[in-house]
């Protein structure tokens, strides 16, 4: 497992602090992410997960701290900068437009064009062909590239969003709770997609508060709690119970655990 640390990290976040007025959302979080790993970011609601990934993807600027991307300090002015650098975020709900076809969604914002009589036209044949190809690779059978995304299941939508990000050259893929609204089977499909993407050398940052989902694919685990990190653990060095405890801040959950008969 330690072989990974021989590579250079693709992205390093050093002592990131983020204050919103009087609220300290992040109080010095450090993390480094390597190509080809699935780095799970765990934490309960309000732990600062969202703020942290928004800082990573250029939505927020850190109040203090440093982001080093591919060996160079980076300052992202907006999400577009981060996207151009190769940091893609797949949001839980905001990834796809259900009314539009899969191929139109796939190329949204990156439409291929062909010139006819000096005018740029949307190259739909190319878009359709690539979409079908990529979907087949990910194991999604489409009736046709013009099938609307609304007809896909939640898991398939996440998979389309992920393969889109990878197709457009994402080096770091941030997945914001991709499995939280999904059923068992759909969740395993998404986890399988994460695994495929990781094998292509993409760094995956997988945000979740479900320990089992994290343990299924994660290589390393970082737990955020009240804007701080409690350190990063390697796969195999930590048990599900320990992770669960760290997320909830230990003490309180232990009491809850008794009351609920250990079912949490």
């Amino acid at each position: 497992m330690n072989t990974r640390s021989e590579h250079a990290p693709i992205i390093q976040m050093k002592d990131i602090e983020k204050h919103f007025g009087a609220v300290i959302a992040l109080a010095g979080v450090s993390i480094d992410i390597f190509p080809g790993e699935c780095h799970c970011l765990l934490g309960d609601n309000g732990a600062g997960k969202s703020t942290f990934i928004k800082t990573m993807s250029g939505v927020h600027k850190p109040t203090k701290g440093e982001i080093i991307f591919d060996g160079k300090p980076m300052h992202f002015d907006d999400p577009r900068d981060a996207m151009d650098a190769g940091i893609a975020t797949v949001h839980q709900h905001l990834a796809m437009i259900p009314l539009m076809s899969v191929s139109r969604n796939f190329f949204m914002g990156n439409e291929p064009v062909k010139k006819i009589a000096g005018i740029n036209f949307f190259d739909r044949e190319k878009a359709d062909r690539i979409t079908m190809e990529e979907m087949r690779k990910m194991g999604i059978n489409l009736r046709g590239p013009d099938q609307a995304v609304g007809t896909l299941s939640g898991g398939e939508r996440q998979t389309v969003a992920i393969s889109r990000a990878v197709h457009f050259g994402a080096k770091v893929l941030i997945l914001d709770e991709p499995t939280s609204a999904l059923g068992v089977r759909q969740t395993s499909n998404v986890l399988a997609t994460i695994d495929k993407v990781r094998k292509q050398g993409v760094a995956v940052v997988f945000i979740t508060h479900n320990v089992r989902h994290a343990l299924a694919v994660g290589d390393r685990f970082t737990v955020l709690n009240r804007g701080k990190t409690l350190g990063t653990a390697q796969r195999g060095q930590i048990t599900p119970d320990e992770l669960q405890d760290m997320m909830a801040g230990g003490q309180e959950l232990a009491q809850l655990d008794d009351a609920l008969g250990g079912t949490v």
């Binding site: 990834a95 036209f121 059978n141 609307a148 609304g150």
Partner: protein, 374 residues
Amino acid sequence: MSQSAQPTPATDERIKDISRLRQSLIRPELGGICGTVLVFTFFLLTALDSGMFNSQGVLNWSTVSAQFMIIAVGACLLMIAGEFDLSVGSMIGFAGMMIAIFSVTLGWPVWMAILITFTLCTALGALNGFIVIRTGLPSFIVTLAFLFILRGFTIYFPQTLERKTIIGGISDAAQGDWLAPVFGGKILGWLFQWLGEAGLIATFERGTRAGQPVVDGIPMLIVWAIALVFFGHVLLTRTRFGNWIFASGGDAEAARNSGVPVNRVKILMFMFTAFCATVFATCQVMEFGSAGADRGLLKEFEAIIAVVIGGALLTGGYGSVIGAALGALIFGVVQQGLFFAGVESSLFRVFLGVILLGAVILNTYIRRMITGER
């Protein structure tokens, strides 16, 4: 984990085969197509020998339909981009009045009056869009405000300047102007001349124009309508900007996340809607030779009705320009056709309401099938 990535079968057993016929029927324009067929069948049966389908009759309802089409194209693209414009009708009145004031009251050349009006009105469209984007208010409210603001100015200016609410004399001012015929002229006159001589269409039998065809050309209004429909359809379905229009209306936040310049798309669509309204106004002013303060009343609703009959979703992200054009055609044919059929004209609204309801119910059903909405 690699075990879970089983090789998937080539086809999914849960995907039913869909027949080719069914597939070709399921499209956003189906409601519009059905309505058009229905309306034409109805009038062919009831008003065939009333003159509705001779050359003047056809020109009559196609001119009215073309008017609806021009504003429907703008309204359609804007609605797909997720916004409304209720100020279309007032914009028509305002644009017409501006042309009249510039060319008649101020005595500027007509081409200059037209160009300045176009600039002014598209700028107002941009202002509409800018306010909507900046404040985050629903475009319904912002453009409702402009409905009143523009109508107010349309009445105020001519009253202050000319002490009346209708300004005439534009025909005289437009004499010999190079730009005016682009809006008020007619084309293919030679074709109609020939058709008249060949006895295929009606000609005047006496008077100073004896022997000339009653319909002496296709008004530029119709040419503009066809050109705008063509432009809108190609823009929407064949360009990357068209994809951005769908995306902006479908889910602005998701579109932004994918790098679509949503604000720019929306503001441009507000400008295009204003442009279409100005085209309408200019054609009308050139045809009538005058501008009235009450022109374009309720046109915003007629545009929206045409667009909705054509299969667009009121909340954005879905629709078709061809559908909107068919909606406009239905609107025009019904409005004029009831007159030809000798039906009491007040029943026009009843008929329209029934068609609107029927088309929208059908459209909703089709859309659910296409998009998997529940």
